[in-house]
Subunit: 203 residues, 2 copies
DNA sequence: TTTTGACTAAAATATTAAAAAAGTCAGAAA
DNA sequence: TTTCTGACTTTTTTAATATTTTAGTCAAAA
């Protein structure tokens, strides 16, 4: 049982390596099998199909992301510092796993209901995490705003929006270079500063 | 001279009608010519090629946009009201000309340098307009923040980011429905409220 | 229970032919 | 001289097809 899970994780490891290097679309099940020196049917013993292997990869990346983001979270810090840290973790992951770009990969991978639901759920988890950050800041009287869940969603979406704008500026499928990447991070932090300040004043 | 310009504008009118209805990609020069009951070479008398006709359309849409946005601008209003108005105008235009979607239309229309520069310049004009709004609010002591140009850029990009998030949520090429559209507008306004409040407090 | 070689079915890719659209030009109309 | 057109050429898209690649299966071995 534990051995089986271990093997499963190894396959996911191998898949991630290939995906990062060549993208999901240009990675075949054979590629992954060869990298791991096993046969293709072995892969299909652990995953019903390629889609579920991709889901496994997504789950893994997000799991690691949440792990790190929670590890770095210290409720005693000022809200702005907490959010700055989170932005850094977010963007580190974004940079590391940019090549995964679920958007492209396979023709309509993003249109698949199972994957859409998965991503939605994970995005929901992130929202919840941010809602907790804002809630605690409210308890500490750092901010004054009723609906922390709503504020968290707005904030997170604004961050993601700035990220998307950066990608579009760079040109869809090119990797944003160091400079553009840093510019984006700076914008996110500048927005954070103003945003947090805006939450401090009472309604 | 004036007559020639008039004809040019008529061609742009016709092109816009077609573009809105069928999209840029599925509109041919013949379609536009037929609509106007003229021959195709007539079009080429006023525009060197299709690209420049498209540029004419873009210039026209943005011209009308700036016209209206400036008309509605009343510096005596509170900053938040001004921004709310601008959001409404922005989104009305977005909705009206959504079908233009330069992004798709022709294979790599957005990769064309001339069009990219044009859009960049127009985006720059919008930035300047927002910078002026923030500058005047600063003069009126409504906000306290040094670099109004920088703040304007950050604000505008955040708005556009939220818009892009909405489009991606809806599913790339479907038209965002009334509900999603209103949700987006609301998010933009909520962000505006917090943003403006954040600018009020001193650094 | 886990793994594999040899297989089939489905999908992506390359090739080519046909159609449609962009763009040109000599000359007519205003 | 300026504006416009019918008839044309060239370039791009699209459609059809053959070819290759890849996903996924299965009986049997480890």
């Amino acid at each position: 049982m534990i051995v089986a899970d271990k093997k499963r994780e190894q396959i996911i490891d191998g898949a991630i390596k290939r995906f990062i290097h060549f993208g999901i679309g240009k990675t075949t099940m054979n590629d992954i099998a060869e990298d791991l020196s096993v046969s293709k049917p072995s892969l299909y013993y652990y995953f019903p199909d390629k889609k579920h292997l991709i889901i496994g990869v997504i789950e893994r990346v997000f799991h690691d992301f949440f792990e790190l983001i929670k590890k770095k979270y210290n409720p005693d810090q000022p809200l702005e510092d907490i959010l700055f840290n989170t932005i850094d973790v977010r963007n580190t992951f974004f940079q590391k796993y940019y090549m995964l770009r679920i958007t492209e990969g396979i023709p309509d991978l993003l249109n698949d209901d199972v994957i859409k639901d998965k991503l939605k759920a994970l995005k929901g988890s992130e929202k919840e995490f941010f809602a907790e950050i804002f809630s605690r800041a409210k308890e500490k009287r750092e901010i004054e705003h009723e609906d922390t869940a709503h504020v968290a969603e707005l904030y997170l979406e604004s961050l993601m929006g700035l990220c998307t704008m950066c990608i579009m500026e760079t040109g869809k499928d090119l990797f944003p270079d160091k400079k553009a990447f840093n510019r984006m991070t700076l914008k996110q932090k500048n927005l954070t500063t103003i945003f947090v300040r805006g939450l401090r004043c009472a309604d």
